[in-house]
């Protein structure tokens, strides 16, 4: 997700001032208590505290879903604090305004914004604390602060006197928080830019990490909720007599969203649900099928859409030859390893929520509304997320758990089965794009038009509005910002809503649009009789960062060098979330049309780095996620119902299919870009480009269809 909110100095200082005043929930202490505690803890702001034993605790308001944020945020603080990294630990923050993501204005994690949004605020939080600790030491020594330096949790005077941060806690607590602490020159970084181990690895290895699903409360019931199988359907009637007869089943409740069975554990709840007899009113979407979706979107691209970009004059261009091609991508489920779940406890006048959520801030407001309590009376415990990918930005599981706790009067853990999870109607939009690209006699592009037809994520989000232009920015990202030097370029959007709810999915619009646009560039290169790498490079003369990663990936992959028999290369490049990534895929296709990706070489320019190893892992992770989508990903509809339910009908990449992956990072002094998503978009077009090189067949629709690639 992107928003235009920019972190300002003012908003940061406000947050610091508020939290410095002790108003932050979770840190509120009575005045006397605060004084007493000040002697043992130093808490200059909401983001860190230093204990008298020197231990530094960084409080992180962002959600950990595998991307490493519980390590990256502490690294930002620790760098400027000059902390001893071995004494730094991290703690998950409560839902509170103090932890609003500066790029969203709400406390939420997504859109590859964590490091981009917190690069300065977290460093300032650390730097302010460091200045206070230095001032405290200087006062103790009756010395000048400028004669002191810091190193690994110790203030050192130029004459050699030393005081550890832990011993300065009481004095530093009495000082005021500096408004404009001085930040380090990046050349002096000793933590940022280094491959430090993740702080969350030990609990994730020994089984002690607590995910939402692991929450257990005294008196808690476990619920499963059966929703109408057709989106927009309703419960007509149900017979729960058999369900109630199952030992362990405590309640059967009809909610606005379906029928829930509440039991003393998951198995009894599931058994109860399996024997529920429910009559549904299928509603208006009962005739919906994937064919209808495909036709609706494709037909829309024959008409002019709303114009999002219009360089030169597309209609006036006089190409020697024209490519007119249609690309298509399906709905996709996120299929997080941990199915959606939430534990809610609605008490008189207050609510507690335990959830692996990407959006603790919005959750607080939404749950307050559902439960009918003041938002200040909602406490949100953000648990570890067993995958997020955008799915855990959605509120469905928190809303339904809250409803069920309110109705039952007990703490309720709502668990989605894998099938519930896959059929919950939060999908990456299906999308169709029709390209009309004109080339001159030499094969150079002279005109380009893209007509994009897809549902609107902005409209579905519940928190954004489509602007008056009618353009959903997510539907066009990756096409509207086409970086190639092409005159007479026109991008149009036609919003189509066939009836399926859509949602954010790792890399959002780029996930399909870069496949479309980069594949088209490949087609143009082929039509021009040119090498796909050289063709791109020639058109990226004004785009040094795109060109930089393209050249680095090609060089590291040995573009143009011989490959084993049957293996071919493809290449693609993309910018998303402020980072530039090029990927070269080495692919073989067997006689049955089965595609094997042997190796992927990626180059990434994400500006200054926090933790290069986490960056490499995130790029690799996005490659795997993108490869799963390219090879297998497809949610289809028949008679209004989703046909997929589990990993048999919605396969995901397994270890035996895993390519070798190499990630190369471009050294950079630019501001950091995002990293959770940018590795994904270039993967599919790099793979299908290689398939074209291997078979002469152009894949214009995902997932890749082995039947199409079979040897005749």
């Amino acid at each position: 997700m992107k928003t235009t909110f920019k972190p300002s100095r003012r908003s940061f200082l406000k947050a610091s001032a508020v939290s410095g005043g002790g108003l932050v929930i979770g840190f509120v202490l009575p005045a006397a208590g605060r004084l007493a505690e000040a002697a043992t803890q130093f808490k200059p702001n909401a983001f860190l505290r230093v204990a008298s034993n020197g231990r530094v605790t960084v409080v992180c308001g962002l959600s950990e879903m595998g991307q490493g944020v519980l390590t990256a945020i502490p690294m930002l603080v620790a760098e400027e604090l000059d902390a001893d990294w071995t004494k730094v630990s991290v703690e998950q923050a409560p839902a509170d305004k103090a932890y609003a993501n500066p790029m969203f204005g709400i406390q939420a994690t997504g859109g590859s914004t964590s490091v981009r949004g917190h690069w300065e605020p977290m460093r300032k939080a650390g730097a302010a604390a460091r200045e206070m600790l230095v001032a405290a030491a200087a006062a103790a020594w009756k010395a000048k602060p400028e004669d002191c330096r810091t190193h690994k949790g110790v203030v050192i005077h130029k004459r050699g006197r030393r005081l550890s941060y832990g011993r300065l806690v009481a004095r530093a607590s009495k000082l005021s928080v500096p408004a404009e602490p001085k930040l380090k020159d990046p050349r002096d970084f000793t933590i940022l830019g280094h491959d430090l181990k993740r702080l969350d690895t030990p609990p994730k290895v020994n089984g002690s990490a607590k995910f939402g699903l692991d929450v257990r409360l005294r008196g808690m019931l476990t619920a499963v909720l059966t929703r109408p199988p057709v989106l927009g359907g309703k419960t007509l009637s149900f017979d729960d007599s058999k369900a109630r007869a199952i030992p362990g089943v405590k309640q059967v409740l009809q909610t606005p969203h379906g029928v829930a069975v509440l039991a003393d554990g998951y198995w009894a709840a599931k058994k109860g649900r399996d024997v529920l007899e429910i009559k549904w009113d299928d509603g208006p979407n009962v005739g919906l099928s994937s064919d209808v979706v495909s036709r609706t979107l494709t037909d829309a691209t024959t008409q002019e859409g709303k114009v999002a970009r219009n360089d030169g004059d597309f209609a006036a261009a006089k190409p020697a030859r024209t490519l007119d091609v249609i690309y298509e991508a399906p709905y996709l489920a996120h299929a997080c390893m941990e199915p959606m779940n939430c534990t809610a406890w609605v008490k008189p006048g207050s609510v507690e929520i335990w959830a692996g959520t990407q959006a603790p801030g919005p959750t607080k407001a939404i749950v307050a509304n559902v439960a009918g309590v003041d938002p200040g009376k909602v406490k949100v415990h953000t648990m570890y997320l067993g995958g997020g990918f955008g799915r855990r930005f959605a509120p469905d599981f928190t809303i339904d758990a809250t409803i069920l706790s309110k109705m039952s009067g007990q703490p309720v853990k709502l668990i989605y089965s894998r099938e519930d999870d896959m059929r919950a109607y939060y999908y990456r939009p299906a999308s169709v794009t029709r390209f009309t690209a004109g080339l001159d006699a030499g094969g150079n592009p002279v005109s380009f038009r893209a007509r994009v037809a897809s549902p609107s994520i902005m409209a579905a989000s519940g928190s954004m509005k489509i602007p008056p232009s009618g353009i959903d920015k997510f539907a066009l990202e990756g096409i509207e910002d086409l970086p190639y030097d092409i005159p007479n370029l026109r991008v149009e959007y036609s919003r189509q809503e066939p009836g399926v709810q859509v949602w954010f999915w790792r890399s959002v619009g780029h996930s399909q649009n870069i496949f479309f646009s980069e594949s088209l560039i490949d087609e143009m290169a082929h039509a021009a009789g040119k090498d796909p790498f050289e063709y791109r490079r020639a058109l990226l003369g004004k785009q040094p960062r795109y060109k930089g990663v393209l050249e680095l990936a090609a060089a590291k992959a040995g573009w143009g060098s011989p490959l084993p028999a049957g293996v071919q290369r493809g290449i693609a490049v993309a910018q998303s979330f402020g980072s530039y990534v090029a990927e070269v895929a080495e692919v073989s296709v067997d006689d049955d049309g089965q595609v094997k990706v042997q190796r992927v070489v990626a180059a990434v320019d994400c500006g200054m780095t926090v933790n290069p190893e986490i960056i490499r892992r995130q790029i690799e992770s996005a490659i795997v996620y993108g490869l799963t989508a390219a090879l297998y990903g497809r949610i289809t509809l028949k008679d209004g119902k989703v046909e997929q339910g589990n990993f048999d009908s919605y396969p995901v990449l397994r270890i035996n299919e895993m390519p070798k992956v190499e990630v190369h990072i471009v050294p950079s002094v630019e501001k950091p870009g995002g990293i959770g998503e940018p590795g994904l978009p270039a993967l599919a077009p790099a793979v299908t480009g290689a398939i074209f090189a291997a078979t002469g067949k152009r894949v214009r629709s995902l997932p890749i269809d082995p039947d199409m690639l079979k040897k005749a």
Partner: protein
């Protein structure tokens, strides 16, 4: 009543014998290392050992574990091979979201207990029942190879 040993402790449980072992571990005993991912033995997140053999606890009725030894990730460090595998996982910083990892670790430990010098094909075969949506497969392979070396396996 069903009697079994879980992580070295004797348990007598009054549960429906058809209940999958996973839910007895998680809901009855509060052992949450084994995870629920698919419910139909397709993802491996629920992998535990019964008498040393890896099983998908979501599809194994608790009655099948009667009189046997169930081991979950929480007690894996008490086993010789398990200890080595856990160390290799830590050193390779394998997990991302971490949700599948206890299942991955249990499958890897069973593999290395049986065969301390697994080939890539052996690793594929033993580990392809364990899904990771974060895509940590190359790190899993590296950790298994490190553990193999530490156990004196041939490279």
């Amino acid at each position: 009543m069903i009697s079994l040993t879980v992580n070295g402790k004797n348990k007598r449980l009054d549960v429906d014998p058809d209940t999958p072992l996973l839910w007895v571990l998680r809901d009855t005993l509060g052992i949450t290392g084994p995870k629920f991912g698919c419910g139909v033995q397709l993802c491996g997140a629920c992998t535990v050992h019964i008498d040393g053999q890896p099983v998908r606890s979501c599809g194994t009725p608790v009655s099948a574990a009667a009189g046997k030894h169930v081991l979950t990730v929480e007690a894996l460090h008490y086993t010789r091979v398990g200890k080595v595998v856990l160390k290799a996982w830590l050193e390779n910083d394998v997990p991302q979201c971490g949700y599948c990892q206890s299942g991955q670790i249990m499958s890897a430990t069973a593999l290395l207990t049986e065969n301390r010098s697994p080939s890539d094909a052996d690793i594929d075969s033993a580990m392809s029942g364990n899904v990771c949506r974060c895509g940590t497969y190359n790190q899993i392979r590296a950790a298994i190879k490190d553990a193999s070396a530490a156990l004196g396996g041939r490279r």
